[in-house]
Subunit: 383 residues, 2 copies
């Protein structure tokens, strides 16, 4: 008997049966009408969800590949780049950019927090920058920027191109590519939209194209090729991951049936209820209150407890899978997804399990607090 | 009613129902035991098939991504690189390498042919090279190198590292990574092994590691990270395309049940019978006889017939999907896969359809020749 796990890692998220079924359709030629229709459909759905009339591409690579694509296209040797760093993914963004010759100014942000418009404005006024690399939601620490559009505005007012890692934000936090002025934005398939892992979605603004046209670009990630192939034939320049596209398309159908705004609000409402319950349970949350991510819940562990023992017990005793800490936080955090379409029942099961396991290892945990979670979510009409 | 097409493009190939079913299993965490088991299983199977005890990685990207990975890791700025060019994919190999600072010496080979050991030896003796970029099977023209191991030997004897594009060769042509001395080899998931599109497989030799350790490497394709994550935890550094891995694993199960050598011989035997029948049918084959690829059959069209009209009629009248020409050959070729596990019945259907459509457009086509195809394959015991 296969014991089915409840997947609550901050990516990948559990796939809906409709998504799984969609993925196992026979593959088609990537130079034929079926793929063109599929790709166009994906692009149009992402345009709607991400609120952009600009370019959208679906790449055959994981989200880090999308980050590689973004920096390789947008960064020229010697570019002055501002990189606020507050976790593994913002560090990686800068590291990826360095390969292409970026001259990085690191802006160290306290890991329990996220950059604010004030901090970014201050940094921008102290130097001159070509590009800012901005992570909207730091999956490694479970913090998200509030007033992110104000940060973008500050950059744009100073003619700084903005490259955004919205990998784990899109779908779960407000995001408006065009009206917020995002030049290049990277999104993962397997986070809040609950598609299969292995695709990266990237958006490109007109300002970004102006820069990209004059930049040296690697072969596989050359966005000019993606643009040409899409505009001429609604195709991808290289073999697409067709079955993942089938799955992603169905995942987006589910989101759109639910309503894009409802989908996002669901993430916010669930997060609020979860954080409230965890506070009542005396769980120590890693992120400071005003920076807590609605999509990634990070829980601090005391020194005598490691993430791996909690993870292992959650797996064995409850069949619940969560993630551990990353980078400097390795060992001292567990990270839980509030992404995609985890039902109320499953969400309750996840936190019931977490509080159960933690209650044996961490002093003062109030297990009963979880009882309020299902009630509070159902009262708001969620199932 | 959905009209099911018969896919005979030289990648992707039709997926076996077992592969389709395997892909629609629920996704798992990429930091848990299920993924470690899956990845290890894939690596071990590829080691067996590719005859290597060295490193094997499965990347979340299409084969061109694998090529990008290979050149970005193996090439340092200023490296002298020998690039025999005889079609789109060999051209691309060089173009990808140029981005990383390769100083390329192009060796133009007649497109109807492939490089021979003599040609390569001659070129090697005229210059000094750090790396040779060798395409084993040129999918764009349907030619393959014979005595490929002799070409490799000539390179190794002169201390030239060999990077091999075996994307559409592996599984359909002899290939022995270790004993042939291949330093870095790239394989596609969706060609002769008939897995889903969207994965790239890469092998790395000890000599290659020695070079890679001292090279600058982009973030997403940094093979040192892949090595570290595999050795320490049997994991990938970045989110793997889990469902594609499920599918690939089942595709390899099918190959191994059939027998790796039988699988390869099947490609060779089918190709021989197909070429014989096409010659009898008076079809003009693009490749010269001794260079014809067993995995990609390329058919030349007369000036008054374009590939797209043949492709369109094959699709509409017969539900058969083949590919057109690429690069300079755009318009003037059709390319047909002999890859994976197309049955005798389906193979006959493909060539029956091709001869039918061509007989109305090209003078002298002998449609009846196809009748011998099924018989000859069945006589050899194929189904």
């Amino acid at each position: 008997m296969q014991f089915l796990m409840l997947l609550a890692t901050p990516g990948p998220t559990e796939l809906h049966k409709r998504v799984l079924d969609a993925m196992c359709k026979q593959v088609v030629s990537h130079r034929g009408p079926e793929l063109r229709e599929l790709y166009t459909s994906l692009v149009e759905k992402f345009r709607k969800l991400l609120k952009t009339d600009g370019s959208v591409f679906v790449l055959a690579c994981s989200a880090t590949g999308g980050i590689e694509c973004a920096v390789s296209n947008i960064i020229n040797k010697g570019d002055k780049v501002l990189s606020p760093v507050f976790g593994v993914f913002s560090e990686r963004f800068a590291e990826a950019a360095k390969f292409y010759g970026a001259e990085i100014t690191y802006l160290n942000i306290k890991p329990q927090t996220a950059p604010t418009p004030e901090i970014i404005k201050g940094a921008l006024d102290e130097g001159t920058y070509d590009v800012a690399l901005l992570v909207y939601n730091e999956t490694s620490t479970g913090v998200a920027s509030r007033d992110f559009h104000e940060i973008l505005k500050a950059c744009k007012e100073r003619n700084v191109l903005v490259a955004v890692d919205a990998v784990s934000a899109a779908g779960g936090l407000p995001l408006k590519i065009d009206s917020w002025g995002i030049d290049i934005c990277v999104i993962g398939s397997h986070k809040c939209y609950a598609g299969p892992p292995g695709l990266s979605i990237i958006t490109v603004s007109e300002d970004a194209w102006n820069k990209i046209r004059s930049s040296r670009r690697p072969f596989y990630f050359d966005l000019i090729k993606y643009k040409k192939f899409y505009e001429e034939n609604r195709e991808t320049p290289f073999t697409p991951a067709v079955n993942l596209m089938y799955g992603m398309n169905e995942a987006l159908n589910i989101v759109l049936e639910y309503g894009a705004d409802n989908w996002m609000r669901r993430h916010m409402d669930f997060a609020n209820s979860i954080y409230e319950v965890l506070e009542k349970a005396n769980v120590k949350l890693f992120a400071e209150k005003e920076y807590r991510s609605p999509t990634t819940i990070s829980i601090s562990l005391p020194n005598n407890v490691t993430d791996s023992e909690i993870i292992e017990e959650l797996r064995i005793k409850h069949g619940v899978v969560v993630a551990g800490g990353m980078g400097n936080m390795k060992g001292s955090l567990i990270r839980v997804a509030n992404m995609g379409n985890l039902s109320v029942e499953k969400t309750v099961k996840v936190y019931d399990a977490i509080l159960d396991v933690m209650s044996f290892k961490v002093d003062g945990i109030n297990r009963q607090a979880v009882e309020a979670l299902g009630e509070s979510l159902r009262k708001m009409g969620y199932r």
